[in-house]
Symmetry: C2
Subunit: 197 residues, 2 copies
């Protein structure tokens, strides 16, 4: 199998997913029809069904794209080598999620869909089980280093702080998507005041 072909298919898939993303951002997961996606992608029905089994698969692909942002961005913190403060962790994850406005909008839709679509729910759940330990690791490291706690105590302390820390991020995402005049910098500043570090 020539490598070119595989890459080509991958690219096509991505193009379709991006077109679908734009449609979903405008009309929602269920509101956007295959016809919309077909038109937006500039391809034809058959072409699309050659790359995706169903609309459901496209939805999953887009959802995965959007919620994956968080993990991607968090990984960059590892590269730094230094132990980030709790508020830095939150701000980093938010930078990933809300850099693209349409991603942010779709994220809320993904959460909504997760309430009724088991596949999406599973996807969200999977990403959580990736993110939670990362949060925990960073917060634990910080508590050890800056609060002088033992590894055990630091872990306990961190695991209590993780949910609210994530909650603050969730709040940012919600308000960012819902309130047109949401003051993002002010929110981030408040996070820095509230969280230790």
């Amino acid at each position: 199998m020539p490598k070119v072909t595989e890459q080509y298919r991958e690219t096509r898939r991505d193009e379709i997913a991006q077109a679908a993303l734009r449609c979903f951002a405008k009309k929602g997961f269920t509101g956007a029809s295959m016809a919309d996606i077909i038109a937006e992608s500039g391809l034809s029905a058959g072409a699309i069904y050659g790359h995706f089994e169903s609309k459901q698969q496209i939805m999953l692909s887009v959802a995965s794209l959007v919620i994956g942002d968080a993990v991607t961005e968090l990984e960059t913190l590892n590269a730094g080598g230094v132990v980030p403060t709790p508020s830095t962790v939150v701000m980093t994850i938010l930078a990933g999620v809300t850099s693209d406005v349409s991603h942010n909008q779709i994220l809320l839709q993904v959460w909504g869909e997760a309430m009724v679509d088991p596949k999406i729910r599973e996807l969200v759940s999977d990403v959580l089980t990736q993110i939670r330990p990362i949060y925990l690791r960073f917060l634990t490291a910080w508590a050890e280093e800056h609060e002088g706690l033992s590894k055990h105590d630091a872990t306990t302390w961190a695991s209590r702080l993780v949910p609210v820390t994530m909650g603050l991020a969730h709040g940012y995402i919600v308000q960012s998507a819902l309130f047109p005049d949401f003051d993002r910098p002010a929110y981030l500043a408040s996070i820095r005041e509230l969280l230790p570090g």
Copy 2:
């Protein structure tokens, strides 16, 4: 016009809305069909269309029901006469929103729908403009009383804290709906630690 008739109609409307709520909780706003709602309500298509103009109207009615919980519950704080702590305010609003699990689930769907449906968006926006000032008032009063700030300083302080305070609530709602093993009491305890008061 006999009063009985009006009350009767109101009751019927409410029954239909409740039936619709159950359907939406199970299958989502767009996933639930009129046929579902008809079956769940035990009525017929014609009967329902006698009380609601369209499915859209039913959706709005249910959405309003669900996001109205917050306001309803907040009002109870007024009755007490004492100035609640910031964390008490959050916990009160959460008590209203998440007491009924299906309401909580639908709330996420409402947020998602708000991304693409202007009517729903408007509804959400309206409720916010009701809630924000209430938060602000309570937090300001608390800052005056317990931090000894002037009215002006207290207001400034409060308006900076309102978004994150609401954010913590949003985080609770999101995690409560998405994570089956979410530890609610632990989250509330962390809120108490984080927020002043």
